[in-house]
């Protein structure tokens, strides 16, 4: 302890102690003031939400683009099962590639196929009777209980038409019969009455006759009859009926021409090749496509967990 009566060279100890006290005080004040700056810097760095949001949107958009292209590329297959397995392979390959890329940034990703929806087109593009592939003259069901008929256009030739307006018996007029989920029936009959005569009978029993020159294009789905000079209209069956729809040809050997029928869903139980109604390369043939696919998407980073289901349509994401 410094002596109050000591020499002047020892009084410095007290001055040093006082100086240290002041220094500590100043440092404490500096710390207090610095808290503000530190806190602001800390909080300004916490903008992870926007970064994570951007990462998820980018990832999902990549899936939509890639899978849209995959749907286009696999739709050259001729059988439903091949289409689905090709799609599963495409999704799995893309998933493996994307997962390794994202893992480098500490993000775990997932994409998996959960459901597939088909679109089927029945095509007869060479002029022949409306029979099955083996030419059987009996009535036959083209598609059964399909959820949607997207397009049904018949190009009817006047050559093989029956010359009677009665559709009874094997020599009767050819027709198209559409039955809906309530059992209501919409009918179209075609016969030769000096020209091509088409009779449309709605489920309510209303009958309308149209006469046209051969060949006649009948757009069943949109309700028009066009012989190249005149377009006549009738009420489309879908305006008066409810899905699902079953489409049948009656007396199919008493009319000839071409047609295209596009519906949603898969229309054969087994393979197309095994179904004796259609072929895969002649007439009438089936062209099966994957119209859309459901995918399960997952994205997990340290800050964000994101899971959703998305639907990809063919060609979606093309820019």
């Amino acid at each position: 302890m410094a002596s109050l009566t000591g020499g002047s060279d020892r009084r410095g100890q007290l001055i040093i102690v006082a100086a240290i006290g002041l220094a500590v005080l100043l440092v404490a004040m500096a710390f207090t003031l610095n808290t503000a700056v530190f806190a602001n810097i800390h909080t300004a760095q916490t903008d992870t939400g926007v970064q994570e949001e951007r990462g998820v949107v980018h990832y999902q958009h990549s899936i939509e683009r890639a899978m849209g292209e995959v749907l286009v590329s696999i739709n050259t297959a001729t059988e439903y099962d091949t289409l689905e397995s090709d799609l599963e392979d495409g999704v799995a390959i893309w998933h493996r590639s994307a997962r390794s890329e994202y893992l480098r940034d500490g993000v775990a990703t997932k994409v998996a196929l959960t459901d597939v929806r088909y679109e089927t087109t029945v095509i007869q593009n060479e002029t022949r009777t409306f029979t099955t592939r083996d030419g059987s003259d009996s009535n036959w069901t083209v598609v059964e209980t399909v959820p949607e008929v997207r397009e049904f256009v018949v190009e009817l030739s006047g050559e093989d038409l029956a010359e009677t307006n009665s559709c009874e018996g094997n020599d009767g007029c050819a027709g198209i019969e559409i039955t809906d989920g309530n059992g209501d029936i919409w009918q179209l009959a075609a016969y030769d009455d000096g020209g091509v005569t088409v009779t449309v009978e709605s489920p309510t029993g209303t009958t309308t006759d149209f006469t046209a020159d051969s060949p006649v294009e009948i757009d069943v789905s949109n309700g028009t009859i066009d012989d190249g000079t005149t377009v006549q209209e009738f009420t489309p069956f879908s305006d008066e009926m409810d899905a699902p729809y079953t489409v049948r040809y009656t007396n199919p050997d008493n009319a000839s021409g071409t047609y295209t029928l596009t519906v949603d869903g898969k229309i054969v139980d087994d393979t197309i090749e095994a179904d004796d109604r259609y072929t895969v390369d002649g007439s009438p043939r089936i062209e099966a496509d994957v119209a859309s696919a459901d995918l399960e998407v997952g994205y997990r980073s340290p800050a964000l967990t994101y899971e959703t289901g998305i639907q990809i349509r063919r060609g979606e994401g093309d820019d």
Binding site: L4, T5, G6, S8, R11, L14, I15, A18, G21, L22, L25, L26, M29, T32, L33, T35, A36, V37, A39, N40, H42, T43, A44, T46, D47, T48, G49, V50, E52, E53, V56, V57, Q60, P302, A303, L304, T305, Y306, E307, T308, G309, I310
Partner: protein, 164 residues
Amino acid sequence: MTDRDVFATDRGVSAIVSYALVLGIVALLTTALFVGFAPFVTNQQHDSVHATLEVLGNDIAGDVDSVDRLASYAGNDATIDLRTNLPDRAGGATYTIEFNNETDPDRSSRYDYVIELRSTDPDTLARVSVRTDRPIQVEPRVLDGGTIAIAFAADENELEVRHV
């Protein structure tokens, strides 16, 4: 006659007076620092805590916005959980977070909330607005600082904010 030492440093000043002077100056300086700077430091701390709470509030609002947008983007089948890492203290003080629903259905079909961040020492309140497409549920009603989770589940179609 004796010669006097004209260069002596303690001429006319006793050691006691010298010590008293040193202590007095130190005491004066310390007092001046406290008196002069204490309000300044207090104000600075208050302002800094308020500014920090505002930044934190904007951070929460931004993350709520992000989850809300992602929920709209993801559609009807989504599950989202975003963690927001906030400090336990702002400027050395603890704080609480509260969401107040100020939605006026007559003015907008969207939901308006005010996020209130409150610190008791110093006593300050920061308010930040956020507008969402879906309602926000906060459990418990008043949250402490620290990591919070902002979640969305499609079956309830609402945002849930909770402490983690």
